[in-house]
Symmetry: C2
Subunit: 283 residues, 2 copies
Amino acid sequence: MTTRQIADRRVRDRTVFIVSDGTGITAENFAHAVLTQFEGVRLVQERLPFIDDIQKAREAVVKINDAFRRDGYRPVVFSTMVNAEINAILHEACAMHLDLFQQFVEPLEIEFGVKSTHTVGRTHTGASSQAYQDRIEAINFSLAHDDGQTHKDLEQADVILIGVSRSGKTPTSLYLAMQYGIKSANYPLIPEDFERAALPGPIKQYRDKLFGLSIAPERLAEIRNERRPNSNYASLENCRYEVAEAERLMRKEGIKSCNSTAKSIEEIATTIITDFGLSTRAY
Amino acid sequence: MTTRQIADRRVRDRTVFIVSDGTGITAENFAHAVLTQFEGVRLVQERLPFIDDIQKAREAVVKINDAFRRDGYRPVVFSTMVNAEINAILHEACAMHLDLFQQFVEPLEIEFGVKSTHTVGRTHTGASSQAYQDRIEAINFSLAHDDGQTHKDLEQADVILIGVSRSGKTPTSLYLAMQYGIKSANYPLIPEDFERAALPGPIKQYRDKLFGLSIAPERLAEIRNERRPNSNYASLENCRYEVAEAERLMRKEGIKSCNSTAKSIEEIATTIITDFGLSTRAY
């Protein structure tokens, strides 16, 4: 191997381990956010979840050290380990350790003047808690109230998304339920509503809960063409008509809205939560 | 206010700000994981998303300083700010700053030998990328293939969850799609399958993709009773029968499975990904 190849490998083939005594999802999301800021660095990522005893920690160390030997460069380890003893074993691995809890928990202990509980698996709300049950109920609610399927219990909705077909209502609705336990219904705006120039009857009384999603007609036509190619439904002309009418209706009724075209589900959900001032808790 | 009241407030009323130039969801999840380790500390949490220019950063500083004056103790700020200039303004706030990126990006720049891109809003995959489209498609796939609704395109599934009614298939399926873009179908096991002692016909050919969810009969009876109180469907006796038969069938057919009773959606999803060795990417 020439020096040049070694230099190339340096920025191309690094192994990143996500190690956690829980699922590792918090560490994985965090690592993703940090690592996307490094373009041109080719990384192979491996998640080692449920490392919750000494034996499993030893096995993790072996895996990390194997990667070190294989790559020729020390792996990067993002970890969220609550138990100090198990964590100490993990730190024996030859790696760059980015210990998410150690970096933040200790300074917070000093700041709050209390010790942390150091309890494994507390990062997500336990499956038996009321909060968790509420979350599952919200997911079921969002599913049952997808695309205006039912008007039953609509008064229980925290938010009702409206918009033309394929404007992003369903994924946003499910995300609000999954991530935050928010009961989100969604209701389509269809040509009949535009002819009447009025909100659909069943949702009129819930005006305070309505949030509109709009979308660029060009993008909408693309999305609809994947489903029903060359239909009137998917034609740019019809998409332009529907979007213009939906926007007109939302303006007239004074309904909050946002344009979903260039926004991810997370960005749309965050906009809705901020606009409504909804209180949230992460799970 | 007496000294004692002040002492009480010290560990009870702290304001936590989540500040980001994006949605702040990564920081929020991370803060949640860290803060759940502090029992008895009462925290009021406020998320300030989309702080992506100097003016907004200045407004955030005012809010944080207001909380300082109100609480009598400096707020805790979890932040993920990519732009250094905007971040510098945020750091003028009187607070305990837990700067997630600063702590990790700089050491990684040294480790990788490259500079980070410092691009705002890169923590989530942009709404127009192929990866993002794949994710939306996976969500639509999981919805269309919920509860055995259709057998169409089942060969495209990455995984097919099976189990008795209300064993947790639907939320897990949606989570796999939402979080990882995994195409997950789910298919119920019903009394007719147990009488035949065989897998449902349409999914037999996809044995390698099947993953079973089991559940404690007592918990299943609780869940079913919320839906259909005092029915045979929800009776403990029937739940015991269905669970025992489903487990027998999965064992006989050599299908991987896990017990969902005490597991969160994230834990079940992580178990499935690990068992199948599915490659994942966070969004």
